[in-house]
Amino acid sequence: MKLVTSEYRTISRISGPLLFLERVRGGRVGEMADVRLRSGEIKKGQVLQLMEGTAVIQVLEGTAGIDAEDSSVYLSGEVAKTGLSMDMLGRTFNGIGEPIDGLPPVIPEMRLDINGLPINPVAREKPSHFIQTGISAIDGLNTLVRGQKLPIFSGSGLPANELALQILTQAQAPGSTGDEGEGRFSIVFGAMGITAREAMFFRKGFEESGAIGRTTTFINLADDPTIERLFTPRISLTMAEYLAFEKGHHVLVILTDMTNYADALREIGSAREEIPGRRGYPGYMYTDLATIYERAGRIKGKKGSITLIPILTMPEDDITHPVPDLSGYITEGQVVLNRQMHRKGIYPPIDVLPCLSRLMNLGIGSGKTREDHRGVADQLYAFYARGRDARKLIAIIGEEGLSGLDKKYLRFADEFEKRFVSQEGEDRSISRTLDIGWKLLSMIPKTEFTRIKEEFITGHYSRGD
């Protein structure tokens, strides 16, 4: 670190969120800068790139009001850091970690680089603890495991926020010790570019569920500077790492909406005149998203864990859009919301077919959930897929053209959506979820069961009702 901060009055160019500073000596990539305007106002910035004495600085609060003549820039010599303290639980901050709840600033216990460092793969502990969210489509078919990163792929107008809040309030993990000390459960909520209405929705939800005291909130609203969005998930995860790996908490992190984050990344990319990739997003977006998502996990010898639920909006409900596509390649599965199911009045409108939890097998089975869990999930999937095929068929040939068996599958698919997926406001235990699963499976003749062990069928198969 430098002892003296250096001041420059050599701004040569201002372009979008970027500012070009000349004759810089000894600047550092990633160091934070203060831009002092003629009015005395100070804006924060960060050095992105250095070339031949020119520093490219992204200005967080936007470049409005900065002029090349009278504004000056101070380089701090320090990379972006955030102060951390246990007092931050229950508090609300803006997208770059400044309090916005009217309370005084926190006195930090430590200050850490918001970019974090990659977890050494040999230091990671294999996730293996089942988290019961109380939602059948997740617990039964796409089980969430402690230390996992499982995003919700939503579309505009779909109830992703409601689902996230429900998961937050219902999530139980065996072994967490309630509200005190190590092993306690806390929440970090990071919001990028959400509306004031959404922010209020979450705030109210936290208050009503009593979770507010164990929640740290970082909010960048839709009308806040976009560049700050690049900082919000990193600050949120730095807080989560502090809680999980310094204080031993089981931390659930919600980041919403990653699509807004990606758009901010694209904005900086185009301001830097980088070669755009698919849909204008920068070519390094995969790596950039990975440095966020990969911060979830467990570490050997540490009691805490970070479970990450990012929410993102699929533009036009298109799962092949770069944001959901690249996210899906990094995260350990995905929960996908579906507009048709939403229109049918199914809540949560989870389309289980494209959903996946890659870590499911680590968290289920005897001793964790139930020994028949894997088989029930696989068989429900196979039958439901077949039922959906039958649904497509009747569009062409009418229900009369279906064989008797296909008609059974058709009914199965309808009932599955109505009784298994749909669960307005209900908090289901895992064994209740699996029992409902068996009831539904029993609508199909035993001879059709190919993915489940004989011994479980005899124990659970009941005559369909």
């Binding site: 810089v24 970019n115 062409i396």
Partner: protein, 580 residues
């Protein structure tokens, strides 16, 4: 050794430009900045050298010093590679953890191999023998299973003046040659250059994976190359991991290139416990891991596949059959694209540099079956199984297409199958293998001459099933002829029983090739006998409701022992029921 010192004048992401670098060579390494981050020169312009830096450049400053030693990026090769886990530039992750804790901080340097550990060296040659490149001078028991053959490094010849026996570290000389030269158990090799061989051999032996859809339908030969493209969630990693677990190879090199940390943790915790189905030894004893997860520095990700294949070639040179798993090559290509764009090179398709295809081909062609250099005479192979992650699952994208041009087998994974939880989600309509003709002799010798024709019949049934399904969607299934409905049923059985395989089931995860053959034979016998029965006037219901059809579904979970007897009995009982 000479030193060239320069100063940083530009920093952009993972690329750094330094001036005052006259004399620095292309693809030589340099220590960059006050923290001494490792970098590699990738462009020279006047006195300026552009380097890709293998560590995070945050906090790196202008005017900091750059030192080049004129040495390319090297891999360290010797006993201790197996059961080791390294990052993209071969730093041992365990040692990094000991040095910097749970998170990887910057500027830490650690040797790949443990230089304090002693290995028992057993000489195979004696004083007075003349040696040249690749000759095996002695052996070390590296793991319970693998004998590590100590070879004369490429390019060295001479007469042995002294050869030792006993416990030595990798740096102590175990053989002295005339002229004062010595050979230790450890050698270095530049990762970007293929290790020398004597000649290439034909791929004519099956690379046994124990997965029915691969071995029987789309086999890859020992020394061949298969690519596994698929959208997210289609099971690329599960395919790579089950091949790493169950395929018949002496050595596995697994490259986790820009993928998930938790997946590597799974490999790390599972492999010491899982046993090799062929030898009963823990899998980790035959495995070396090169891991550069998606959040680790992007330039080191670019280097990781070269580090990995150099280790693979080194064991190949000992005469071993090596399988190289790359998961995923697309992440490597993205790293290449990112560096290329920082260099402001003219992009071609999708922003990838125009040399993407050439680089990929050069990498893939390092695989193959070879006669190795040196004596005794031996052959070794590197079989490459490379996962590809096409954006949006679209196979027309550049990385998939460039890989396809040089690959011998395509195992395309299909999102729709994955949604139905049909795993491995291999799309039998577009996958292919160019090795089949060359492997026919092997199948005839090791399994049965009948297998290729059974396979053709199965493919034909699947093809017909696809067509019939389309018709059934238009006219309804009841309108189809009985024989066509039997074809539909058989296609369903082939998919559900034969192509689908449960990697989580202890019995089904690995299916020996002989059981594969017999399963296929049973299914197709049911089909043939059933068709004849229909011709003889029996009803479709009587064929479909026979207990022989139901028992087909239990085959995958039946134990391997006694399966061939069961299969013979099965065909007998089929004939008894329908051919009287």
């Amino acid at each position: 050794m000479y030193e060239i010192k320069g100063k940083i004048c530009e920093i952009s992401g993972s690329t750094v430009i330094a001036k005052g670098m006259v004399g620095a060579g292309m693809h030589t390494t340099a220590l960059v900045g006050n923290d001494g981050l490792l970098g590699e020169v990738i462009r020279i312009h006047g006195d300026r050298a552009t380097m890709q830096v293998y560590e995070d450049t945050t906090g790196l400053g202008l005017d900091e010093e750059v030192i080049s030693f004129g040495k390319p990026l090297m891999a360290e090769l010797g006993p201790g590679l197996l059961s080791g886990i390294f990052d993209g530039i071969q730093r041992p992750l365990e040692a990094l953890k000991a040095a910097s804790g749970n998170f990887i901080s910057r500027g830490i340097k650690r040797r790949a191999l443990d230089s304090s550990k002693k290995w028992d060296f057993v000489p195979k040659l004696k004083k007075g023998d003349t040696v040249s490149s690749g000759d095996i001078i002695g052996e070390v028991q590296e793991t319970e299973r693998i004998v590590h053959r100590i070879m004369v490094p490429p390019g060295i010849t001479g007469t042995i003046e002294e050869i030792k026996e006993g416990s030595y570290t990798i740096d102590e000389p175990v053989t002295l040659l005339d002229g004062g030269r010595s050979i230790s158990m450890c050698q270095e090799w530049p990762v970007r250059r293929p290790r020398p061989v004597n000649g290439r051999l034909n791929p004519d032996t099956l690379f046994v994976t124990g997965q029915r859809v691969f071995d029987t339908l789309f086999p890859v030969a020992v020394g061949g190359m298969a690519i596994v493209p698929g959208g997210f969630g289609t099971g690329k990693t599960v395919v790579e991991q089950s091949l790493a677990k169950f395929s018949k190879a002496d050595i596995i090199v697994y490259i986790g290139c820009g993928e998930r940390g938790n997946e590597m943790t799974e490999v790390l915790t599972d492999f010491p416990k899982l046993l090799d189905p062929f030898t009963g030894q823990p899998l980790i004893c035959r495995t070396a891991l090169v891991v550069n997860t998606s959040n680790m520095p992007v330039a080191a990700r670019e280097a990781s596949i070269f580090t990995g294949i150099t280790i693979a070639e080194y064991y190949r040179d000992m005469g071993y059959g090596v399988a190289l798993m790359v998961d995923s090559i697309s992440r490597w290509a993205e790293a290449l694209r990112e560096i290329s764009s920082r260099l402001e090179e003219m992009p071609s398709e999708e922003g990838y540099p125009s040399y993407l295809g050439a680089r990929l081909a050069a990498f893939y062609e390092r695989g193959g079956r070879f006669t190795c250099q040196g004596s005794p005479e031996r052959t070794g192979s590197v079989t490459i199984i490379s996962a590809v992650s096409p954006p949006a699952g679209d196979l027309s994208e550049p990385v998939t297409q460039a890989s396809l041009r040089v690959s011998g087998a395509l195992w395309a994974l299909n999102t729709d199958l994955a949604y139905r939880r049909h795993f491995p989600a291999v799309d039998w309509n577009i996958s292919f293998s160019l090795y089949y003709e060359g492997l026919k002799g092997w199948f005839a010798r090791e399994v049965s001459e009948e297998l290729p024709s059974l396979k053709n019949e199965a493919v034909a049934v699947l093809q017909k099933e696809g067509e019939l399904k389309e018709i059934a969607q238009l006219v309804g299934i009841e309108a189809l002829q009985d024989s066509d409905r039997l074809t539909l049923e058989t296609g369903g059985i082939l998919r559900e029983v034969f192509l689908r395989q449960n990697v989580f089931s202890a019995t089904d995860a690995f299916c020996p090739i002989d059981k594969q053959f017999r399963m296929l034979k049973c299914i197709l016998s049911f089909y043939t006998v059933g068709l004849n029965a229909l011709k003889d006037g029996l009803s479709l219901d009587s064929v479909l409701s026979c207990p022989e059809k139901a028992s087909l579904f239990r085959m995958s979970e039946m134990p391997v022992e006694g399966f061939s007897e069961w299969a013979l009995g099965y065909i007998e009982s089929l004939k008894k029921r329908f051919c009287l």
